[in-house]
Symmetry: C2
Subunit: 369 residues, 2 copies
């Protein structure tokens, strides 16, 4: 790629060589927000620190007049109030959430969209009711294949005006961990997290967890909406149809040790023992190993990984590693491996929308003498 591609209807733009972040990308970066990585210290991420990505505007939804429709290929369509939903059996689940675009701004060349570095994650406790029994009550028709979820947020994307909507294979939608959630960390959903009701599809990237949910439609054909057919595809060339973005690839992050420079975010440490720590996750299989390099990925040490907690199967997992650095410059690198053998590349594996990029994190640190 030697020059910037012009924007074209229906196509994401790719930044040119050396092209800085534009005002359009910045407008997304200042609206949306990542989780500052020191917040990896919290088992449960406070809502204001959890990442937020809003495609259009945060809609104003009045919970008193709001209704959820369950419709399409069902025997008994439903129309439910928030109280109807709250009267159903409730469960609370700690769920790791990550944006499919996490890491995009580190790609070279850079796909032009929300320019995440590595902070589009969070792990909160969501309270809601499982979706599967509700679909069972509605009576899913024989031959149904997908379930489409529509939110109240309205906008235009690559020329297509739309309410945000995503399709999910029926087999995924009826998994017991899929929830319709009205609360987070014990409080009603705040506006930016989908009030009054959002979907949670643990294990999948954030685009599947539709916020401000208004409509669930069971389909006897695959969903062909913009967010599945055009956005959220893994492809290298624009002409490809690409593979759908689905479950979260394995990733480990380290909480940057020491203290930062305000502007460069460079890290400084005093010499002496340091407890490195962070979190690891995969939406595909349990994390089995976290490795840390303190020499820029030349050599690796296996970190202590907290045991899987049966109470929180969809959460991230803590890891720690003791380190006693010499004064000087070091580069921390960290990677996770899951039970499917999935791991993180040390060199980028590029795709043109900057999706599902789990390139390893690198944290340069200066240890003072």
């Amino acid at each position: 790629m030697t020059a910037a591609e012009p924007p074209r209807r229906g196509r994401a733009r790719i930044a040119g060589p050396g092209e800085g972040i534009g005002l359009d990308e910045l407008a997304l970066a200042t609206r949306n927000h990542g989780m500052p990585l020191e917040a990896l210290r919290y088992d449960v991420t406070p809502p204001g620190l959890h990442y937020v990505l809003t495609h259009y505007d945060i809609p104003a939804v009045d919970p008193a007049t709001w209704r959820l429709e369950v419709t399409g290929a069902v025997a008994r369509p439903l129309r439910l109030t928030l109280d109807d939903l709250r009267r159903r059996p409730a469960v609370t689940s700690r769920v790791l959430l990550e944006c499919a675009g996490n890491g995009r701004a580190r790609y070279e060349p850079r796909p032009v969209s929300q320019p995440w570095l590595l902070e589009a994650v969070g792990c909160a406790e969501w309270t809601g009711t499982p979706l599967a029994p509700l679909l069972a009550e509605a009576g899913v028709a024989e031959g149904a294949v997908d379930v489409a979820f529509t939110g109240a947020d309205h906008g235009v994307e690559r020329g297509v005006e739309q309410d945000y909507a995503r399709g999910l294979p029926l087999a995924e939608a009826v998994r017991p961990e899929v929830l319709l959630a009205w609360a987070v960390n014990g409080a009603p959903l705040p506006p930016q997290h989908g009030a009054p009701l959002r979907l949670l599809v643990p294990g999948w990237y954030g685009m599947a967890h539709v916020k401000w949910l208004t409509r669930i439609e069971v389909l006897d054909r695959p969903f062909r909406g913009f967010q599945n057919a055009v956005a959220y595809r893994l492809k290298v060339h624009a002409a490809q149809s690409g593979e759908p973005v689905t479950r979260i690839a394995p990733r480990a992050l380290v909480a940057p040790p020491g203290w930062p420079d305000f502007m460069t975010r460079e890290r400084f440490l005093r010499a002496g023992p340091v407890a490195l720590s962070g979190r690891a996750w995969s939406g595909r299989a349990p994390v089995t190993r976290v490795e840390v390099s303190t020499d820029g990925a030349a050599t690796w040490t296996t970190a202590d990984l907290a045991p899987a907690d049966p109470a929180h199967p969809c959460a991230w997992r803590a890891w720690t590693l003791a380190w006693t650095p010499e004064p000087g410059s070091h580069e921390l690198v960290v990677r996770a491996t899951d039970a499917d053998g999935g791991t993180q590349p040390t060199e980028q594996v590029w795709n043109r929308q900057g999706m599902a990029n789990n390139l390893v994190q690198r944290v340069p640190v200066t240890v003072l003498g």
Copy 2:
């Protein structure tokens, strides 16, 4: 300015002509976050939507072992627990907060720092105890001039390692509206807003409202710390010492009407009547007028400004204006005027740190036929 200035210790860098946002600025933009402007609809900003600017890392403060020192030029130094403070008389105050760097990324040339567009604002309800009676109990010495407030956040800035600290003139510190706050919107402070205790100095830009407060030191000489003497100065040339940044300049914002394009944030509306609305504030004097232009600042109409609410003298004020646009392209511009005669420029008034920039907001909209 024809070329980028190189970074120099103690100096902010100025971006070169056409230079895009760099990865350092982006790292700040993804860590910190603005208030999406549709949240102008809420009288009281939810904490996760309120702007956040953290100079260094959000510190981990254990409220059980945390203490507040009141020291320096006082007759009776104090050392207080959070419970000691909570047992004091509590008040709840709705306070408009704005970052001094709001609008920086719109400057041409651009000072390189946190690249805010226009969203570094919020108006929440803070609960705490007034500072003045506490200082009176400590017994402020004759001849005291400043009060220095130190937070637990630690980092390095333009070569200077420091705990974040700001000095405030004693006469401002003893104003009755200045609070030590432990709660926001009825809940304990979340980590990013200064838990367990922060300062609130209504009317002043955000840098004065020290978070993670650990120490209050009364001084018989002016405070000369980095954040007052080097940062937060209004100056055009690096060699100037500049004027201190203090109270918030008047500003009005419009909640962008219609719906956005995901990537460009361009706004679209259907033809027909629209109720334009937004908020206005000034930290210097009451807002007396909000004007709206729908033709790019060629002509102006006075908006309906909500009456001042005696219960919330430190809050922003709502404004509305009915508009029935013709199909086509329009540019909304909005400006506030306060009782001191302060208003907003339609052309930038540049300073090299990008501080206290209250250039008018411009919102291009396309009205569909």
